[in-house]
Amino acid sequence: MVDTEVLLSHALERASKRGASYSEVRYQADTGTGIMLKNGVPEVASSIDKTGIGLRVIVGGSLGFGATNKLTKAGILKLVDDAIARAKASSPVVSNPTHMSEEQLGHDKVEVKPRIKFDNVEFDQVVELLKEADSASVVAAKPKGVELVSRMLELTSAVTHKHIITSDGGDVESKIPRNSFYYFLVGIHPQRGSAQRTSERGESRGWEAVESWDLVEVLGREGATMARVLAEGVPPPKDQVDVLAGGEVIGLVCHESSGHPQEADRIMGREAAQAGESYLSLTSLGMEVGSQVVNVVDDPTIPRSFGFYLYDEECVKARKRYLIKEGRINEFLQNRETAAVTGTSSNAAARATSYDREPIIRMANTYMEPGDHSFDELIEDIKHGVFIKNFTEWNIDDRRFNQKYVGLEAYSIENGELGVPVRNPAIEMTTVGFFKAVDAVGSDLMHWAATCGKGDPMQGAPVWTSGPTVRLRNLRLGGAQA
């Protein structure tokens, strides 16, 4: 049996001996099980055990990262030597030396204990649940003449165990279980074409999370909704309208248009060749980007959340972060690398999705803070509008300014009342245009899970994208392709 604590210590000692001014070593074990159901038939079941060590060193201002799953003393020492050698070889081409900000680092153990371990759930019970949910969607779509020709359901259960130590005193061990459920549906109406829907649930707890999601009810509702949209949906209005955006749409908007552009590494250009930069600069703090009722938060510390953690990969204690406060840019997401440049403190945004990935700035659980309006209060004074409850397609430019969200479940609003389904209403607008159009925020905060992509190599990080129903005034919708 390998003593990982001893290996981690050996790595730090070696890095120090070889001249590293900073080093950080992370043992990470990701274990999990998944099952995929394709059109009602189990396609494949899978298990994964991905365990290894990743480390970072700074030598003369040059940053090196190394990773291996050869968990022997010789393997780890060789990795340290290689990472230092690569960092030294690159140093003549380093233009901005890397430093780490000084922080109060954690010495702690964090463990989330599942009430029901996935291992204790009978495998055929999992399959039966998925089959029942799949069947519910098919049955619910039929009465409107819609066939769900493509249905992909995936349920995943995983546990992430990390132990991180840093050369300046950080030492944090954590064990966090995560369960998630993803679905993809395509429905076809013989005369009115097809539509597509994907969504995800996820939480940091045990099987009890899956039980709480009521997947049969969720899929049944999705099937019925898609059928109604396909069979009865009308094109979106072409004139100016007010829009009620559902929490699922708002959660995604907050993630894409507030979280990403407020990642300090993007602002500084570190992701410039891949995920891009930002419409904001380091001097944008205080800039007005939305109406006064807009408050956007990212908070890793929410119990049960999909993006939950209490310390980041640099051993900095996590806290709630106000990204936008009363419509103004309030705070960037920072790690120790960017905080050293800005002369501020890290707010614990460094995350890595596996041992072979470098910690970079990531969101955790991003949401618009709820207001005090009920749904009835939000809708009652809309004379002419559209309620876009959820979405089917979206994208955004790499400066996070020009974005598009196409609704799946949507309804007309006339004189304060919900009306007929609307097909493919597209919100295509700028970040500032969107947030400034918000005039009221609902109290009904809801959560959805997502896997956020960033980094090179790519890292898919578990996050929540959450929001209440929100009212926007005077928009023009596009994208009708019914």
């Binding site: 890397t98 399959v127 410039a272 020009n402």
Partner: protein
Amino acid sequence: MKAEDIVEFAVKKAKSAGATDAVSQVKETNWAMIRFTNNGITVSKVLKDTSVDIFLFVKEKRAGSSVSNLSERAIEKAVLDAAKMARMSPAGGTYAPLPKGKFRYNKKLLRIGKVIGRIERLPGIVKESIDSARAAGASRVAGSLVAETTKLVQRSSSGVKGSYKRTMYNLNVRAFADGECTGQFATIANELDKINGGEIGRMAGDIAKRALHPQPAQPGTFDVVLGPMTTADLIEEMAGASSAFYVDAGMSFFTGKLGQQVAPSHLSLVDDPTSPAYPGASPFDDEGVPTQANRILTSGKLGTYLHNSTTAMKMSVKTTASAGLVIPRPFSLQISAGNESIEDLVSKVDDGLYVTNNWYLRYQNMRSGDFSTILRDGLFKVKGGEIVGPVRGLRMTDNLVRMLGNVEATSSKRYWIKWWEVDTPILAPAMVVRGVKFTKPTI
């Protein structure tokens, strides 16, 4: 244990655990990456890794395990876990036994590319690309350079016995003339000598410089010239849609179109991993079947879907050696070249756009091919067959099937492309597409 011993052990254990079929792969990876930003290197990465994959059938019931702990005990546990999951899965799918070996593989594919003994040359190539992009007019340069050597060893219960080594180098450069005026280009090759950092940097820098002082673009429907980067992204989507898994799942816009004319007769698309000169080349697929050139589009007709044994049996055809044990996929794509230069292609457009790059392609509907993607980096207005100046702020909002049918011409010069948005190496030309729809934000 050595890689060869691990795969033998895993397959043997799977059979004794009740598997009707089993295949195991060990992949040893030696990988280095340099990332650069703001004209300097930001991080140098190294990975030394070995992973073991086991995939087994209990007739039609299938399960896989992936494990990074190479001890006998851990591998045995992974096999037993997979066997248990497969046994407990309900029946109902298709059972296609793994293809029977022993196969003979192309010896030229057993050692693909050239490993450089020392990778100290990488920072120099990065510097060269930064310097040439700046010389071309960029003020800031970012990107990544990857060197990867992989050894893959495979065994199956049906007699497959194969191994190969492959080396690949991948350079991606993005140049900034200012915050919004950017240019990007990328390349991939099996030999480091074929990665021309100076040339890729110059191309990115040149696009960025020409993109300076853009005017707001107007939405509408235009004829376009798509540069090789955008062609690569859109064609990769089409190759993905030819995977029989997605066709069978009803998720592909090529469903029901086999044998049909889906593109003009001058256009062909082949997935060809059979030459050691091609990035992505491989002697065999994940079922151990010797690879072959698969003509996805032949003279504009959809010639084949990409199959593994299971999808092939479902559709009563032979495997195309494209496994993916669950999802068949392409290895190394090539789009047919035309006879004209990129300048000649631009001269065919009276009133339109020249698109150099895009990202964030998402489907409104994978089944129909309705999608949109954001245009990024240099975007240029074309008038009277000439580029008249840079524009910005558009989204391509169209249908991939319709666009494929409207490809009018491809350039004679093609480029090997792979970057963040394009996973499969593609030899891509520029192409002219008629009547493409573009939208922009309303507020």
